[in-house]
């Protein structure tokens, strides 16, 4: 059976959920061979094996942390040369998309980004993409070379499928470009303790209607009652009410949770681009004409300062 390279997204050995989803998709095409790089790479093996990785290729070197993107491209290319896979899958993070792009040029292959599904086909893997702010669904293929595909979070279920997961050290020789862009310093983001925005099953977002940073605790309280991540519209972010890393939309995060709750958000096309593929959409807005209501499964026309706290209390009561 053909092998499929899966690029592992992990933090110091803790594998992020989108990678486990990739393993589910990879198994539809062949046998997953995972590539884990950097600090803690070998620690990823157990969970990758539980989810179907027949092999885990690992490499660590200071280059991965000290220079941008290219060292990881060099390593993935080394894995590609060692395995000759039928496809290369990566998560759709900003960094992994850039890694994918550069690898594709090097191996003379086409690239598909932001797939929301992947299936085996007669002429190779077929990717489903969501285009024009999710108003279209397309099916596409890589027609030259070995498919390089990046997949959005929440595109596949995480399914256990125990496999050998044999760890092998990957020999990497770095290219002349590897040390081109130096990471001079790195300030890690503080954890809020809430789920990761792109991976969360429920996202609760606030917009301009929240009317001030001091009111965002209303949105956070609802999120916490549901075990959800917090998102924000660009208007709320630009006003400085919430961090940019929480922005949902075209230039923010693209989310695809089971449930999305928008409060005080009008539903501009650029916001919709980042949340329209959510399974269930709920909105609270005092303007009955707000475009967000065109998308909703359930909408409340009302003042969020009344509706949201009442909802939070009710959810807490029902759970308690």
């Amino acid at each position: 059976m053909a092998e499929v390279l899966v690029f592992v997204d992990h933090v110091d050995g803790a594998v992020r959920k989108p990678t486990l989803e990739l393993l589910t998709l990879a198994r539809r095409i062949g046998e997953p061979v995972a590539v884990a790089l950097g600090n803690g790479a070998a620690d990823t093996a157990a969970v990758l094996a539980e989810h179907g990785a027949v092999k885990v290729l690992t490499a660590d070197a200071s280059e991965f942390a000290d220079y941008l993107v290219v060292p990881k491209v060099d390593a993935l290319q080394a894995a590609y040369d060692a395995v000759s896979p039928a496809a290369v899958l990566l998560p759709s993070s900003a960094e992994a998309k850039e890694i994918a792009a550069r690898l594709a040029v090097r191996i003379g292959s086409g690239i598909i980004t932001d797939a929301v599904d992947l299936e085996a086909g007669d002429q190779g893997p077929v990717a489903t993409q969501s285009a024009f702010a999710a108003s279209y669904t397309t099916k596409s293929r890589v027609s030259k070379g070995i498919p390089v595909v990046t997949v959005k979070p929440n595109s596949a279920p995480v399914e256990p499928a125990p496999a050998a997961g044999a760890v092998e050290a990957l020999a990497v020789s770095f290219s002349a470009q590897a040390t081109g862009t130096k990471v001079v310093s790195r300030t890690p983001r503080e954890s809020t303790g809430r789920p990761e925005l792109t991976e969360a099953a429920i996202v609760v977002s606030g917009g301009r209607g929240v009317n001030g940073a001091e009111n965002f605790h209303i949105i956070e309280a609802l999120a916490d009652s549901l075990g959800a991540a917090v998102g924000a519209s660009r208007a709320a972010v630009d006003a400085g009410w919430y961090p940019h890393t929480n922005q949902v939309g075209q230039t923010g995060k693209s989310v695809s949770p089971q449930l999305y709750i928008a409060s005080g958000i009008s539903g501009a096309i650029q916001h919709r681009a980042g949340m329209q593929t959510s399974k269930t959409i709920v909105a609270i807005n005092k303007d009955a004409e707000a475009p967000i209501f065109d998308l909703v499964d359930y909408g409340v026309v009302g003042d969020l300062f009344n509706v949201v706290p009442q909802l939070t209390d009710e959810v807490t009561a029902r759970k308690g």
Binding site: R102, K139, S140, I269, Y298, V300
Partner: protein, 261 residues
């Protein structure tokens, strides 16, 4: 020595219009107005600021696109860029990201550059890969997704705000940079700028000029193939209630019914 800056700008269909696919499954450009991708305005802005801070600099805007893509170049010129290069060729119709990066890289090499600046992503394809593809093809450092950027003494520095950390980056020129919409508001063209733009040079290049074979680009030469495109079925109309004091409770009831609570 003059600092040569090339800004890549894409001509895209207006996102607020009714965008759709044509029969050949490429972007239908007939029914929707095109414009300079809003995210590329940030690239033009940063190029102009870097040029202003340099002793001597020249800003060239570059696009690969159909005839109407001149509108995008005009807009960038009216913001203050010095000259424009337009790669235009019927054989380019349907080119994918790998092909586009090939054409852009050849045009950039032909124009001559110390710094290439791009937007973070186009507003139509939204892949966010072209800057990395250009750096790979040109063999120069990529300093991408910057929310802050400066150039001094042949070194580009910037801040990349990622998911898990914020990083300070540094590379020697020549380099490829991409900037996000957090890098600073783009200026509006002034009346003077719009008038001046009419006199600025726009160079047209075709595939022959760049030494690119037609079968490496376009729909036929594409590295990817779109097999189908279907409009997403309209969502079935949802329930909309007016809050008369119990709206939050009703919503909780709905969420419980859907097993979210």
């Amino acid at each position: 020595m003059s600092l040569r800056i090339v800004v890549c700008v894409k001509y895209v269909p207006d996102a607020t219009g009714d965008r759709h696919f044509a029969d050949d499954l490429t972007l239908d450009r007939e029914d929707v107005d095109g414009l300079l991708s809003e995210l590329d305005e940030y690239a033009v802005e940063q190029a102009l600021q870097i040029a202003d801070a340099a002793d001597d600099a020249e800003v060239t805007v570059l696009t690969v696109g159909p005839e109407d893509a001149k509108d995008a170049l005009r807009k960038a010129l009216s913001m203050g860029a010095d000259k424009a290069v337009h790669v235009e060729d019927d054989d380019l119709h349907g080119t994918d990201a790998i092909g586009t990066s090939l054409v852009l890289a050849k045009a950039i090499e032909k124009t001559g550059y110390d710094l290439v600046i791009s937007g973070m992503a186009s507003t139509d394809g939204t892949m966010g890969v072209v800057p990395a593809l250009l750096a790979e093809r040109l063999g120069v450092p990529q300093v991408t997704l910057l929310s802050e950027v400066s150039v001094e003494g042949g070194v580009v520095r910037g801040r990349r705000d990622g998911d898990s950390a914020s990083e300070q980056l540094e590379a020697s020129l020549p380099a490829v940079v991409s900037v996000t919409d957090q890098s600073g508001e783009a200026r509006y063209p002034s009346f003077k700028g719009i008038m001046a733009a009419k006199k600025k040079p726009v160079e047209s290049l075709d595939l022959d000029d760049l030494g690119i074979d037609a079968d490496e680009v376009g729909l036929g030469g594409s590295w990817t193939a779109v097999d189908s495109a279907a409009a997403r079925p309209a969502r079935t109309a949802g329930t909309i209630v007016k809050d008369e004091g119990e709206g939050g409770k009703a919503l909780a009831e709905f969420l419980a019914g859907q097993k979210f609570v």
